[in-house]
Subunit: 327 residues, 2 copies
């Protein structure tokens, strides 16, 4: 059993059981992978894959158990290399961030900018997706770090660090009648007008839908879009009133009315999620404390080492406080 063999094994699985494709990913030849796979199977004494003809058709039950262990071993090998790279103060590497579009577009740019300035040799990969997908990316080891939001408890995957709290805002075109309404906006007001919001708000478990359900109201969703920029565009076009994350409303959006909605919808928390049992490269740690300045390097290290969510975090700031650190 070799680390190479295990690396090939997971590469084959990750390539969808296509050995040729897997070979490219690991920068090796296809016969090499075939042979190593055979040798591994010979040593273990059973088939890792069920063959259909010559092709791999599926992974066996025992195979997936081995795969799981192999993933852990490779992750630990990566940890050792990370320890070494940190000790040698290496400044190149990569940072794969799995996150939602809103975070990538409005919350992360500042921290990624600093990172890139301090570590120009680190290549950052943003991997956008929906909340569930994002955490799946992290679990599968395809991302080093995830940034996601929840309404209440932290995601159960990995180690979650609170980054900041945020609220929803309602946006309307400059001359929209809603802006002239008696000021404390109500859900009933909102139910009267066509809404434009995120795709996720169609899901029955979305916090937007929950708020209306709790009030016994039925919102009129005129349109959904995958990101806030699209929502703002269509609000401007007059399709309806937008409901979006406060981060998505920029100072430059002067043509849009901003109507606070924090009394209507539950507050959200954005979390940084790290895989359990990982050694972070120094630049990742720096990125984290830059993105979530209320956290200390030690807090993060401790949370990772303990791998159980820590007793109590320092209170995470709101988005407003977050983007304007203590002057």
């Amino acid at each position: 059993m070799t680390l190479t063999q295990l690396r090939y094994l997971v590469a084959i699985v990750d390539a969808g059981l296509n050995i040729t494709l897997a070979a490219e990913h690991v920068h090796a030849t296809q016969p090499g992978l075939s042979k190593q796979l055979r040798q591994l199977e010979d040593e273990l004494g059973f088939q890792l894959f069920v063959r259909k003809g010559k092709s791999l058709d599926a992974i066996t039950d025992a195979g997936s158990q081995v795969l799981e262990r192999a993933r852990i071993m490779l992750a630990e090998a990566a940890n050792i290399r990370a320890i070494a790279a940190n000790l040698r103060s290496e400044e190149h590497g990569e940072l794969r961030i799995a996150t939602t579009h809103t975070q990538a577009r409005f919350a992360l740019p500042a921290a990624i900018g600093s990172l890139n300035q301090r570590y120009p040799q680190v290549s950052v990969h943003l991997q956008p997706g929906r909340d569930g997908e994002v955490l799946a990316q992290l679990e599968a080891g395809h991302a080093d770090l995830a940034v996601v939001s929840t309404v209440g408890a932290p995601p159960s995957t990995g180690v979650a660090l609170p980054a900041y709290h945020w609220k929803r805002v309602v946006v309307a075109p400059g001359n929209h009648p809603l802006a002239a309404a008696p000021h404390p906006l109500s859900l009933a007001d909102l139910a009267e007008v066509p809404l434009v919001s995120y795709e996720s708000s169609l899901r029955s478990d979305s916090s937007l839908r929950n708020a209306f359900d709790a009030a016994g109201l039925q919102p009129q969703i005129a349109m959904t879009a995958s990101d806030a920029d699209l929502i703002k565009t269509y609000v401007r076009a007059g399709l309806g009133v937008g409901v979006l994350a406060e981060m998505a409303l920029l100072d430059s959006d002067t043509d849009l009315q901003r109507l606070p909605a924090d009394h209507l919808f539950a507050a959200c928390t954005t979390w940084i999620v790290l895989p359990r049992e990982t050694v972070l490269r120094d630049y990742v740690l720096e990125f984290i404390v830059d993105f979530a300045p209320h956290l200390d390097r030690r807090d993060v290290s401790r949370a990772l080492a303990a791998d159980t969510p820590p007793t109590e975090w320092p209170p995470a700031p709101s988005w407003q406080a977050h983007r304007q650190p203590a002057a």
Copy 2:
């Protein structure tokens, strides 16, 4: 980085930084280990050990971090091999049990006997020690399984499975006056006579000492011994009255008076402790359910997979019920 290199690394540490000794343990030559160690250090780019002259003097800080990761990787490699061996229904292997003398002498023989009968090719190694040592053996990976007793909560190391409950008994020579005393023995009675008990009862946190302290009494410990056989011998010799685990009193000990003491001392629980994240060989699982018949194979597998202590165990039997399974 090779698995071989990591295996050599931990062998060197486990051999007390003596490369020659480590080489023997891994069945390789000393120059081989030296060279692999150097190559590993070259690849990682830093020293794993601090040298004094040519000898290894200590492990570096980064070295111990690597060591920790290496141990995990090797354990996972062993897990993969265990999966393979189970699948091939291999009947040879070894079982290293770290435990206390009392368990080894009185509780384990039956289960080990069955194991040996069913799997004659499995070699069992009993590694006796005190409670703390036993768990250390398990943590260091020098034992596959530990059997220890506590008065209350399970040990925090690894995954603990309750095996059975037991009580203490007081034993006296046949003609000892204590046996004629008004029957419900009291701590005051015991404080009047010289006692013979385990070495551990001298520790200030021992449950024996706790019981006397709580009653404001001072026991007279005439003698301590490391195991129950010695205690019984010296009780017979008239040195005093023995206080020992009920398991240690055999049916054949007819010359000794058995005085129940469960109302005087807290009840104990014996636990089977397994390392986290391990794949058990089939014969180990069989041994466990044989030793703790109230447990199901599924209970054990689930507890290991979850690696968090399960919500609620089936109630563990008392020692008396334990040795005489439901007739």
